[in-house]
Amino acid sequence: MSSRRSRSMQSGSSRITEDQITDLVSKLQRLIPEFRNRRSDKVSASKVLQETCNYIRSLQREVGDLSERLSELLGSLETDSDQASIIRSLLM
C-alpha cells in the first residue's frame, strides 16, 4: 500500500488519486468471471489483482491449448476440402 502512495507522489504530471485507483480496480473486478456476481465492497483490491493474474494465466493457457488443437487440425486439413473453402470464402 505504501508503495502505491509513493508512486502516486512521484508521478508529477499525472497524479492518480485513490478514488481513481478504486474505480479502476472495480472496473477490473467486473471483468473477472469469479467476482461478477458478488458485491464490490466485499472484495479487497489485492484479491482482485490476484484473481486477475490467475485469470490472465488461465486465458493464456487456454490460448496455448487451442493453438495445439488448431495445429493438429491444420495438419489433417486437405487443401481442397470444405473447410478450406469456408476459410477462403471468409477471407475474400
Partner: protein, 181 residues
C-alpha cells in the same frame, strides 16, 4: 447455426476489433498451412512427430497474439509493447543477432512482461517463476506486456483492455477449432 454463418455474424456486428483479429488470424493460419509441406502419404499425417506439432502450435500461438496486437494497433501501450517484443524476437532468429541483442538490452523491461507469451512448453519450466513472494501488482506487471514501465493507473487500464482482448482471442480460436469436425 452453421459455423460459417456464426463467423459471418461476428463480421457484421459492431465489434470491429473482433473482425480485425479474425481476418488477420485466419490469413496467418492459411499462410502457416501453405508453408507446411504436405505429408507424403495420408497415413503419415496422423503420426506427425510431437516436435513438429509443438513447433506448429508455437507458430499458431504467436500468430494469434501478433494478430490481436496488430488488430489493436498503436492505440494501447500493451499492444505496442507486444508488437515490438514479437518483432525483436523474430529478428533474433535471423542472422542479425548482435543488433537484436543490443536492442534487447535496451528493451529489457519488455522482456519480462512477455515471457509467458513466448515460452514454449519445453522452456516454460525455466522461464516461469511460479511462486515468488511479491505483491499482486508486480505479478500483474510481469503478465501484461510492457507492464514494468507503467504507472499503476495506466497498468490497471491496460490490464482491463488486455483481459478483454484475451477473452476475444480465446472465443474466436475456439470457434475456429469447432469449425472442423
Amino acid at each position: 447455426m452453421t459455423p460459417p454463418a456464426r463467423l459471418n455474424a461476428s463480421a457484421s456486428s459492431p465489434c470491429r476489433l473482433r473482425t480485425r483479429f479474425v481476418l488477420r488470424f485466419l490469413k496467418t493460419l492459411v499462410k502457416i498451412k501453405r508453408s507446411t509441406p504436405p505429408p507424403p502419404s495420408p497415413s503419415l499425417s496422423l503420426t506427425s512427430s510431437p516436435e513438429k506439432i509443438g513447433r506448429h502450435s508455437q507458430r499458431i500461438k504467436l500468430a494469434a497474439y501478433s494478430s490481436m496486437a496488430r488488430a489493436v494497433g498503436q492505440r494501447r501501450a500493451w499492444s505496442r509493447a507486444l508488437m515490438l517484443k514479437l518483432k525483436l524476437s523474430d529478428k533474433r532468429k535471423n542472422r542479425y543477432r548482435w543488433l537484436a541483442a543490443r536492442k534487447m538490452k535496451q528493451q529489457k523491461t519488455l522482456r519480462r512482461g512477455c515471457g509467458r507469451i513466448l515460452a514454449t512448453k519445453r522452456n516454460r519450466s525455466e522461464k516461469g517463476s511460479p511462486s515468488r513472494s511479491c505483491s499482486g501488482v508486480d505479478e500483474l506487471r510481469r503478465l501484461v506486456p510492457g507492464g514494468e514501465a507503467m504507472d499503476l493507473g495506466v497498468l490497471l487500464e491496460e490490464t482491463a483492455h488486455f483481459v478483454r482482448c484475451l477473452e476475444t482471442q480465446v472465443r474466436v480460436m475456439s470457434i475456429i477449432a469447432d469449425c472442423f469436425p
